[in-house]
């Protein structure tokens, strides 16, 4: 869901880029955060709570709260709210702590 017309703001949208979310091809606009792109597509669940195993999504969207940590190109604990989308990146839902060792 994106805002097409706004009474005050103009959104400069440039190139569309494709990337992957849990194996599915998704898209966003170049320059926006991974979180913004996923949110616009209605994808709001980004990881599982460390202890609760419950779904977690965005909270602060400015890189401070750690609620939206995901695995991006194999790197766990990536703050997707401050990480820009790039063509072809692989974004995966993070299970509790993520695993870097396995990838190496």
């Amino acid at each position: 869901m994106r805002i097409e017309n706004h009474p005050i703001l103009e959104f400069k949208r440039t190139k569309k880029v494709k990337f992957y979310f849990d194996g599915k091809e998704v898209w966003g606009y170049e320059g926006e955060s991974i979180a913004a792109a996923l949110h616009a597509l209605g994808i709001w669940e980004y990881r599982e709570g460390l202890k609760t195993k419950r779904p977690r999504g965005l909270f602060c969207a400015i890189g401070h709260c750690s609620s939206c940590l995901m695995e991006v190109n194999g790197v766990p604990n990536t703050r997707i709210c401050v990480t820009p989308v790039k063509e072809g990146i692989i974004v995966k839902k993070q299970l509790p702590k993520g695993d870097l060792v396995e990838k190496l």
Partner: protein
């Protein structure tokens, strides 16, 4: 290792203002910003700022941010480090930072910390569900990326952020189901409250949220009256928390500056003097990091910290330092909360705040008392402005906007008074008022500010609504003045009986 005179941590309004102040002395300045862009939270603020002309009152936050960013980029002696996170400060004065993924060392003579704030959450059942977002997150999605946060939003908190973001949500086309406020009075500026009430958004005072409903996503909320314990279920896909901010003080803690818990300032704040100096030599703070206020105070504090740090380096005392201290005092004249916080830091000891009177119904509902409304209506039968601004807040752009000097105010924190004999009903004040609290009433028409889409055309039939967003009648648009700053002016025909209640229009599709 790179040497700098002043290193500033945080590229928001406070940090930028500090950098610009220091650059005046030809000092070598480094400005560090963790993200890809400067401007901090100011780049999301689409509303017009209060204050006086000196503080860009009547200008939207986004435009203030643009100007600050341009100014920084045009200064040769400010090195801007984007995507660069400051990691730590060492006893030998070395600062380490991750600059675009690589660790680098810096040695500054002075440091200004302006790292801003962090959004507070609220304890209630299921508050971890996706769909429970901080107000800043909602603003980022819709005002930075143009992404709709959801379809239906319940706002929690009626401070300025809760009220402003509710209005912004409505502008983006999102339905705001209500604003929940635990105290008996609305927390933010009442002109902001009146703005959202006109849209038909209810404000539930003495209510709190007790539960978010939903399995994997928010589907609704339970709110409760804290006195009667009566519960109410509200369907929504987003619960937006505007329940306050906390200073972001990790780096200040690491430096070992003395901290103090001051709830009025948002939590742990660095102990500092009136020149923004902390208890550690050469370390200054500014903006929300130093105690939660708003962007205008942040810009003034940033400038003050930048000037004072420069003074310590150059021995040149800029008289603007004293001027800023006076401006800040004027700004804080009605902020009893901030001032009582500052007193706990041993600042503002002899300062007395103008007491805020209880504005009765207006404070509880966002709708003024009948008597206040009637006191505005002059006896003469002519075209004139109606100023629905009853609360003492630091704001005065209406005064200077008037071509006939019909509006007067005894101080920045005064209440505007209109001389109806001088008023020509031009509507300049309607266009400039940051609170959208001024209207021009004629015999059979009302001129009102309109910041929504679609914009009606002259001759269109629209719905005329009252201060609660309730339908009064359908009538014809007489004139549309498109304004550069996008607060357009609509003059709508209104029948006599509704003249004193018609305060907004709805365009029927």
């Amino acid at each position: 290792m790179k040497n700098y005179d002043i290193l500033i941590i945080g590229g928001g309004p406070a940090g930028i203002s500090a950098a610009l102040a220091a650059s005046k002395f030809n000092l070598k300045v480094a400005l560090f910003e963790e993200k890809e862009t400067l401007g901090g939270q100011l780049v999301k603020q689409t509303h017009k700022f209060f204050g006086s002309k000196d503080e860009s009152a009547g200008t939207r936050g986004i435009f203030i941010a643009q100007k600050l960013i341009n100014d920084v980029n045009n200064k040769d002696n400010i090195d801007v480090y984007l995507n660069s996170m400051v990691l730590g400060y060492y006893e030998d004065g070395v600062v380490t930072a991750l600059v675009k993924g690589k660790m680098e060392k810096f040695k500054p003579k002075k440091i200004v910390i302006a790292t801003g704030a962090f959004e507070k959450s609220l304890p209630f059942e299921n508050n971890d569900l996706p769909g429970v977002f901080g107000a800043g997150a909602v603003q980022t999605l819709m005002n930075v990326y143009g992404v709709l946060p959801g379809k239906e939003v319940l706002m929690v908190g009626s401070g300025n952020i809760g009220l402003i973001v509710s209005y912004q949500l409505a502008q983006a086309g999102v339905k705001v189901k209500g604003i929940v406020e635990i105290s008996e009075k609305i927390g933010g500026y009442l002109v902001h409250a009146s703005k959202v009430r006109r849209l038909g958004i209810p404000i539930y005072t003495k209510h709190t949220i007790t539960k978010a409903i939903g399995e994997n996503k928010v589907e609704g909320a339970i709110i409760e009256n804290i006195e009667t314990k009566e519960k109410k279920q509200i369907s929504c896909d987003v619960i937006c928390l505007a329940t306050g901010l906390m200073p972001l003080s990790d780096i200040i803690n690491q430096i070992n500056c003395e901290m103090k818990y001051i709830s009025e300032l948002g939590g742990y704040v660095p102990v500092h003097d009136d020149n923004m100096k902390t208890t550690v030599e050469n370390i200054f703070v500014a903006g929300d990091t130093a105690g939660i206020e708003e962007a205008t105070a942040a810009m003034l504090e940033g400038e003050l910290a930048g000037l004072y740090a420069s003074y310590e380096l150059t021995n040149i005392f800029d008289n603007r330092i004293n001027e800023i201290k006076e401006r800040l005092k004027e700004f804080r004249k009605t902020s009893s909360k901030v001032v009582s916080g500052l007193k706990k830091l041993n600042l503002y000891n002899d300062f007395t705040v103008n007491s805020q009177e209880d504005l009765g119904k207006l404070h509880r509902t966002g709708i003024p008392e009948k008597e206040s409304i009637e006191s505005n209506i002059p006896k003469e039968n002519k075209r004139f402005a109606i100023i629905e601004c009853y609360q003492k807040i630091p704001c005065n752009p209406c005064v200077s906007s008037c071509p006939t000097n019909a509006i007067s105010m005894d101080s920045l924190n005064g209440i505007p008074k209109l001389d109806t004999n001088k008023c020509i009903g031009c509507g300049n004040c309607v266009a400039i008022c940051p609170g959208l609290a001024i209207f021009v009433v004629d015999k059979e028409s009302v001129l009102l500010p309109y910041e929504f889409l679609p914009l009606p055309n002259k001759g269109d039939i629209v719905e005329v609504v009252d201060r609660e967003g309730k339908f009064l009648e359908k009538n014809i648009v007489l004139n549309v003045r498109k304004m550069k700053d996008k607060t357009n002016l609509i003059e709508v025909k209104v029948s006599k009986e509704h003249i004193n209640n018609a305060r907004h229009i709805r365009v029927v599709k």
